[in-house]
């Protein structure tokens, strides 16, 4: 299990910049609708 956790530790630093871009884009798109719409049936 420690080996598996080490895998995650190793990868985070390498890709943090690209992941940040994805995270910001997804959040901005997700929050375009207000909370009542986000909880509507289509979601």
């Amino acid at each position: 299990m420690n080996g598996f956790i080490q895998v995650f530790k190793d990868v985070f630093e390498d890709v943090s910049r690209d992941v940040k871009v994805i995270v910001e884009a997804v959040i901005s798109k997700y929050l375009e609708k207000d909370i009542s719409e986000r909880y509507s049936g289509d979601e």
Partner: protein, 445 residues
């Protein structure tokens, strides 16, 4: 054999010749294997060409033919992508490190073999189906049949090449972001992915449960319909019934302007000429908008990469050091995506499905260029921006799961075939293929 007279079908032609005794079962398959080991090897389309199993199948099929038993794909050679399980071959998914001994065949292999098809080998692909160039760091790139200095595109590049140079009339591929349609387009053939899950993905090494499709590549639309008919009962009848229906009415076709706008001038010109062809039929062609188009890659990334990193985690842990740098990097991103972001991306995907449901209430078909750029030179695709452009127009239709096809279009300025991508609403695969038949009647290279 078939109720319909197919005009372009290579399958029909082979079956006719077999039935009339012009060719033998062994002759058909020997020629296919000879070409796979000749031009197929030269252009790097096959990772393994099979002799033993193929010829034992031919013995059995020849006995059936002697007894008058003909099936819809009797002796039709098929090329199979290396990530689709087919006993007794190992599934390696374009890697030198995987050696999966499948316990059973993929469902599509069972069906095609039951219908008489003969798989002649396993095709070269982008490593683990996680890329669109088909530049495989372990086995080398597959080369474009029309200009070997250029890529075939991928990840089903070997399958597309096999069809393009006439090794097999049909080939199997998989499509998670455009992996059937991109190489089909670059190689000048037809590439089809059905509505999500309409062809079962069981027995395919998974990348993304949400986005994976099995697809078919062929030299013409008729061969795709004939192949689908073996999987979906009555598919030929329902498609030709749809064809009669749409001949008598005006097809409403939507062009998504944001997708056209990102294309090079040469791609735009080819696409515009393809639209002129259907305008000649009095189809209604409207420009529509999908304002979120530039967000598609960002929303798809957490879904595809997150699911791939989970599905293939043990492969990454064991073999990450042997992976190509591009694939390894995608795994790292997938492992770093927060679960909350994955869930948000899935919810945005649901919104887009609703958006397109509304669009399909007003239009029968959506048309776009399949790829915004010309096939790059093999030496040019190290550039990450170029790699991202390859899937830019195709990945949307994996995210929403609609049936989608690429067809050849008038030539690009570099002299290679252009490409048009058509899509219809979910489970309207028959409408898509009927529309494609009409287009193909008017234009084929």
């Amino acid at each position: 054999m078939f109720r319909y007279k197919f005009r372009k079908s290579s399958i029909q032609k082979i079956l006719d010749e077999l039935y009339r005794g012009v060719v033998s079962a062994e002759g058909i398959v020997s020629e296919s294997i000879r070409r796979a080991e000749g031009i197929g090897r030269e252009l790097n389309y096959f990772l393994h060409v099979d002799h033993d199993l193929t010829y034992s199948r031919i013995d059995k099929l020849s006995r059936n033919i002697c007894e008058g038993v003909f099936k819809p794909l009797t002796c039709i050679p098929v090329a199979v992508k290396d990530n689709i399980d087919h006993k007794p071959f190992v599934t390696r998914a374009g890697t030198p490190y995987l050696n999966i001994n499948p316990k059973m065949n993929a469902r599509i292999i069972d069906v095609l073999e039951d219908m008489g098809a003969v798989s002649i080998g396993r095709t070269n692909m982008h490593e683990l189906a996680m890329g669109a160039t088909n530049i495989n760091p372990h086995f080398g790139p597959s080369r474009n049949p029309l200009d070997p200095s250029r890529i075939t595109g991928g990840s089903s590049g070997g399958s597309a090449g096999s069809v393009a140079v006439g090794i097999t009339p049909i080939a199997l591929g998989t499509d998670t972001g455009g992996s059937v349609r991109i190489p089909a387009a670059f190689c000048g053939v037809v590439g089809f992915k059905p509505t999500i899950n309409r062809i079962p993905v069981s027995g395919v090494l998974p990348v993304s449960n949400t986005l994976d499709h099995v697809g078919i590549l062929a030299g013409n639309v008729e061969d795709i319909i004939i192949t689908l008919n073996t999987l979906i009962n009555g598919f030929i009848d329902s498609t030709y019934s749809m064809l009669e229906n749409i001949r008598s009415r005006r097809i409403r076709l939507a062009v998504i302007k944001e997708i056209v706008n990102v294309s090079t001038d040469s791609v735009k010109e080819s696409f515009s000429k393809a639209l002129d062809i259907v305008r000649g039929l009095n189809w209604e062609v409207d420009e529509v908008s999908f304002p979120d188009f530039n967000m598609v890659s960002k929303i798809r990334a957490p879904i595809m990469l997150g699911e791939a990193a989970a599905n293939l985690f043990d492969i990454y842990v064991r073999y990450g050091d042997r992976m190509g740098s591009d694939v390894k990097y995608l795994f790292k991103i997938g492992l770093s995506i927060p679960a909350s972001i994955y869930v948000m991306a899935c919810k945005v995907r649901r919104r887009w499905i609703t958006y397109f449901k509304d669009l399909f209430s007003r239009y029968d078909v959506i048309a776009t260029p399949t790829i915004p750029i010309e096939p790059p030179k093999i030496s040019e695709v190290e550039n990450i921006a170029t790699r991202a452009l390859l899937i830019k127009n195709t990945e949307l239709f994996n995210v929403i799961g609609t049936p989608t096809i690429t067809l050849p279009a008038p030539k690009l300025s570099i002299g290679l075939p252009g490409y048009i991508q058509l899509t219809t609403s979910w489970n309207n695969d028959e409408l898509l293929l009927a529309t494609s038949l009409i287009y193909e009647e008017l234009y084929s290279p």
